[in-house]
């Protein structure tokens, strides 16, 4: 099967990337790389609902922060290894994603998007008022100096995010080529016609919000260990929501490779700009690129490149 070849290639590419990065002595490389990988997970997760089904979610930051705050809460109670936190954070965000889906998926278009934005604010307010995880003061997480086997802790975090990114992209690609992917495409194109063809649209949309939420939560779970200090303003930062929409849109929304390309390009560009120009110019660049792409190439980079390869992906 071609899926197996893809999995093999993805795993080898991931392993090679990590092996090569071991020769890099500069810790900054891992700090920056972590953020890019995190955006690969976030934009791929967003794309499952936003790109495949056509439901634009503005609440990415909430589901992401929920994963992070789940980690904070558990850490305060009893520290456990990060992979365990990722599973728990993913589960919490999956359940909340499912709940958001139940509440909002009867809405369409802009109304759905507004509802997700409102729910994000509700979740943020809850966290601000939850004293156990620091409330509005924020919470400090003392991360260990070293990790087992890997050595440097930031390299350990980088590796974890790398595995997560490979997993997210693999799942997205698997969906795209499955029965589920065809169902998602019909929801994007015409829900009434989809129902008339036997597609259980509500159930599929709930599957999409759950999966999308799960990956966002997983991406957020290691965050407290990465930043060391987490407060609601940074966890729920608008940048996560904006970036996770901009990256798939710039890359191309209907394929798995679009968010990957978008996240690598835009994520790297942002890291570079942060160091060379200013950290404040970041979002300005995202905004300008987003406007440019929506006007010039609404189907993203993939849409620009696809005609060059006659038959494309599907």
């Amino acid at each position: 099967m071609r899926s197996w070849t893809f999995t093999l290639v993805a795993v080898v590419a991931g392993a090679a990337l990590f092996a090569l990065s071991r020769f890099v002595q500069n810790d900054y490389f891992f700090f920056a790389g972590y953020v890019v990988l995190q955006y690969i997970v976030l934009s791929t997760a967003w794309n499952i609902l936003g790109g495949y089904c056509g439901y634009v979610n503005f609440g990415t930051a909430a589901l992401f922060a929920l994963g992070a705050y789940t980690s904070v809460a558990i850490h305060k109670f009893h520290p456990v290894p990060i992979p365990v936190l990722i599973v728990i954070g993913g589960a919490v965000s999956a359940v909340v994603g499912l709940g958001i889906g139940y509440l909002t998926l009867r809405l369409r278009g802009a109304f759905f998007s507004i509802a997700t934005l409102a729910l994000a604010v509700v979740i943020q307010t809850l966290i601000i008022n939850w004293d156990y995880v620091g409330g509005s003061r924020g919470a400090y997480i003392l991360r260990p100096q070293t990790a087992p086997v890997i050595g440097s802790y930031i390299q350990y975090l980088f590796l974890i995010m790398l595995v997560l990114a490979v997993a997210a992209v693999a799942v997205a690609r698997l969906i795209e080529r499955s029965r589920l992917g065809y169902g998602f495409a019909t929801i994007r194109d015409d829900e009434i016609a989809a129902e008339a063809s036997g597609v259980p649209t509500l159930r599929l949309k709930l599957i999409a919000t759950t999966l999308s939420g799960a990956f966002m939560g997983m991406a957020g779970a290691p965050l407290p260990y990465y930043v060391g200090y987490l407060d609601p303003a940074s966890g729920f930062n608008l940048a996560y929501a904006v970036n996770s929409i901009a990256m798939p849109v710039i890359g191309g929304t209907t394929t798995w490779i679009g968010p990957l390309i978008g996240a690598i390009l835009l994520g790297t560009l942002q890291q570079w700009v942060t160091v060379t120009i200013s950290s404040a110019v970041n979002l300005l660049i995202v905004g300008l690129l987003l406007v440019a792409f929506v006007i010039i190439a609404p189907n993203g980079i993939v849409g620009l490149v696809r005609p060059l390869f006659q038959r494309g992906h599907r």
Binding site: D189, D190, S197, G198, T254
Partner: protein, 245 residues
């Protein structure tokens, strides 16, 4: 007499203060070719939407193949074997023609039979349906490359892909030329020969008269006539509805 395939009892639907359907009762025998006519706004499409589950009827029951389908979602009704085509074609715009037909095959026909088609069987079935409607040469094209009449054919083919017992064709010929109408009628006759029950909702009398075995007339949400087409069109009440006093 065998049990009817579709039994509608006392179906009513209102939109706010407007009564769109008022106590409509109807039964359709397996294998029948039924024509449903009525002036604009008489409730024909609303009836189709209530039968398919796209709208909820306030009163009345719909029984299909011995099963009470009230409260079932549209996709569940499609899986039971009720398929429809839309008045204005609603293809899946980002999918190729073959993939448009793949959707009902994997989501409806496949589920109902309880058996799973293999990938090659699904491909073969897509090809067969496209050949049936004469679109096999465009299998890999997108719906936007089609002409109006081809779009209608795709619409019918997609309804057929769900492997239905009952097909409701909602104005499949509106806006088409004479020869195109002949094309669609030929296609519907071919489907009927395969044992599929067909309800044809149509304005074009020539088409309805040549196709239907029985004619039902709706006027302002009420059924005013039901019977042999030749008798129905001579009915004074039907004449009054169509031609005025």
């Amino acid at each position: 007499m065998a049990q009817p395939l579709l039994q509608v009892d006392d179906l009513s639907k209102r939109f706010g203060g407007f009564v769109a359907l008022d106590g409509v009762s109807l039964s359709v025998e397996p294998g029948e070719r039924l024509g449903l006519i009525g002036p604009n706004g008489s409730g024909k499409s609303t009836l189709v939407n209530c039968l398919c589950g796209a709208l909820h009827n306030e009163t009345g029951t719909v029984t299909f193949d011995g099963i009470d389908v009230n409260g079932l979602a549209p996709h569940q009704r499609t899986r039971l074997g009720m398929a429809r085509s839309f008045q204005l074609p609603r293809p899946f715009a980002s999918l190729s023609l073959a993939d448009n037909l793949r959707i009902p095959l994997i989501y409806s026909a496949n589920v109902r039979r309880g058996s799973h088609f293999s990938a090659s069987e699904i491909d073969a079935r897509c090809g067969e349906l496209l050949t049936l409607v004469g679109l096999d040469a465009k299998a890999r094209r997108l719906p936007r490359d089609l002409t109006q009449v081809e779009m209608r054919k795709l619409e019918l083919a997609r309804a057929m892909a769900a492997d239905p017992k009952l097909l409701m064709a909602d104005e499949a010929m509106a806006g088409l030329s004479h020869s195109e109408i002949e094309d669609i009628i030929k296609l519907l006759n071919r489907l009927s020969e395969r044992g599929i029950t067909i309800i044809l909702i149509e304005h074009i009398m020539r088409a309805v008269m040549s196709f239907s075995q029985r004619l039902v007339v709706l006027v302002s949400g009420k059924k005013i006539a039901d019977g042999n087409p030749q008798d129905v069109i001579r009915d004074p009440e039907v004449e009054r509805a169509y031609l005025g006093q």
